[in-house]
Amino acid sequence: MKLFNLKNALILAALIAVYAIVQMTAVAGTLSPFYLMTLVLVCVYIILSVSLNLITGYTGQLAIGHAGFMSIGAYASAFIVVKMQGSLISGLLFGALIAAIAGIIIGVPTLRLRGDYLAIATLGMGEIVRIILLNTDYLGGATGFSVPKSVDWTWAFWIMVVSVVIIRNFINSSHGRACISVRENEIAAEAMGINTTKYKVMAFTIGAMFAGLAGGLYANYMYIIQPMSFSFLKSFDILAMVVLGGLGSITGSIIGAGLMTILSAYLANFPEMRMVIIAVLLILLMIFRPNGIMGNKEFKLNFLISKKER
């Protein structure tokens, strides 16, 4: 176990390559702005789905209010950038912080609930946040809140990478294993000295924080945010990405987010049929791959390395 090994070097090289290809084609104008926009959104949704996976896939807490945290982050960062004339980075950090605090406030009481009761309680919390925003004219109310675009591909991509690495590192640490033990068997985890409430709240808070960060990116990229964009249907979208990719698989979430976002963009050419096609694909995928594309496995580059070692 080392920080600098062949595998990590390969991954880093691949990331730099992806970043550079997109950046160069975008600058050269060969990559259409619409595709670039889609790719930035893919980054945003990867952060959202990986962070929800931490809560639902790894810690086993069915939460469907992720859009609520996203909206908190979006509005908090927009508040800093627009109303306080703050920098983008301070806006993003503030958004993540406020979302994390909201995560604690919401998580502490509701995480005592189990299964579907937790699901409906988190859904309710998300809707309450939306209704509050709808009634806050200071932040634009129903009309929406205009935010200048300051996020670009570089920001979105590297923040996404850092977020995924942080969540992955958390999961692959002793504290992450503690979270997984809650999912596997809460009673046994508790008996083995795991403070399950603490780890549930911790996972929930970290998840909320990254949802807030993603919301901040979204707000500072999409020109305008409105409460309607963060309804429970958005939470469903994110949950669908997670389940589609595979609960308990980070690479699964990345694939799920990428697939759903790109599919939606591709189907923009068929505006009438788009939602129907997405619905049918969702049903078919679940029927034929109920554990998601990746199951709970990770897509690993090991096979590349082991060949050399053999």
Binding site: N169, S174, A191, G193
Partner: protein, 255 residues
């Protein structure tokens, strides 16, 4: 001084008394058996001791500290560990991860160190890996360290439960029917293993068991529970000849 002292312990579920006025005292280093017919309340006693249930009445004193109403994880911190009658492993995790999770409370690095992959993380993980491996080796599970716990055969799952409980570094180990479903040979091996770990780890053990040969073979003292009450306690020989026990429990089997 008694390691564990239980006084007047009672628990009722919506009026129904599952355990009533239980008195129990366990000294350091002892190996005690808890027996009784089905539904006598043995597992309920374990659940009360480990904090899964909150007692209706009575006190539990462990290492001189009163510990009524403490949540299970704090009970674990104090040095009491258990296994479960219906196996509760972390099935989708590897065998070694199961043990590492139990060792979590002794690990030194914090969340941030883990996320940032600071040197403390690598040190802590290496220590965990090594300790977990040692525990597995004791139970002959080291060759299966990277298999999923749910894929182990039944007997090995039972042993993994004990290994996991030991990894919390307890001073009192509660074993809930450790030999359930094992054949006589396996039971025999388990008996020796229990004796050995008691010596090696300087443990006190309380075990629930149905298999009389195991209980009579290893336990120094036995408590007999029926309808949530202690009907007898003493050495295996005393229990064997106790008429109340024969009537309530052994008698049943004798027929």
């Amino acid at each position: 001084m008694a390691l564990l002292k239980v006084e007047n312990l009672s628990k009722s579920f919506s009026g129904l008394k599952a355990v009533s006025n239980l008195e129990m005292e366990i000294k350091e280093g002892e190996l005690i058996g808890l027996i009784g017919p089905n539904g006598a309340g043995k597992t309920t006693v374990f659940n009360l001791l480990t904090g899964v249930y909150v007692p209706t009445e009575g006190t539990i004193t462990f290492q001189g500290k009163k510990m009524n109403g403490l949540p299970p994880y704090k009970v674990s911190y104090l040095g009491m560990a258990r296994t479960f009658q219906n196996i509760r492993l972390f099935g989708d995790l590897t065998v070694i991860d199961n043990v590492k999770i139990a060792y979590h409370q002794h690990v030194s690095y914090n969340t941030l160190t883990g996320i940032l992959r600071l040197p403390g993380f690598f040190k802590g993980e290496a220590e965990m890996e090594q300790k977990a491996y040692e525990f597995l080796k004791i139970f002959g599970l080291h060759e299966k360290a990277n298999e999923l716990a749910k894929n182990l055969p039944y007997g090995q799952q039972r042993r993994l439960e004990i290994a996991r409980a030991l990894a919390t570094k307890p001073s009192l180990l509660l074993l809930d029917e450790p030999a359930a479903g094992m054949n006589p040979q396996e039971t025999q091996n388990l008996m020796e293993l229990i004796r050995w770990i008691r010596k090696e780890f300087n443990l006190t053990i309380l075990l629930i068991e149905h298999d009389m040969s195991l209980v009579m073979g290893v336990c120094e003292r036995i408590y007999v529970l029926d309808y949530g009450m202690v009907i007898a306690h003493g050495t295996p020989d005393e229990i064997k000849t106790n008429p109340k026990v024969i009537e309530a429990y052994l008698g049943e089997e004798a027929i």
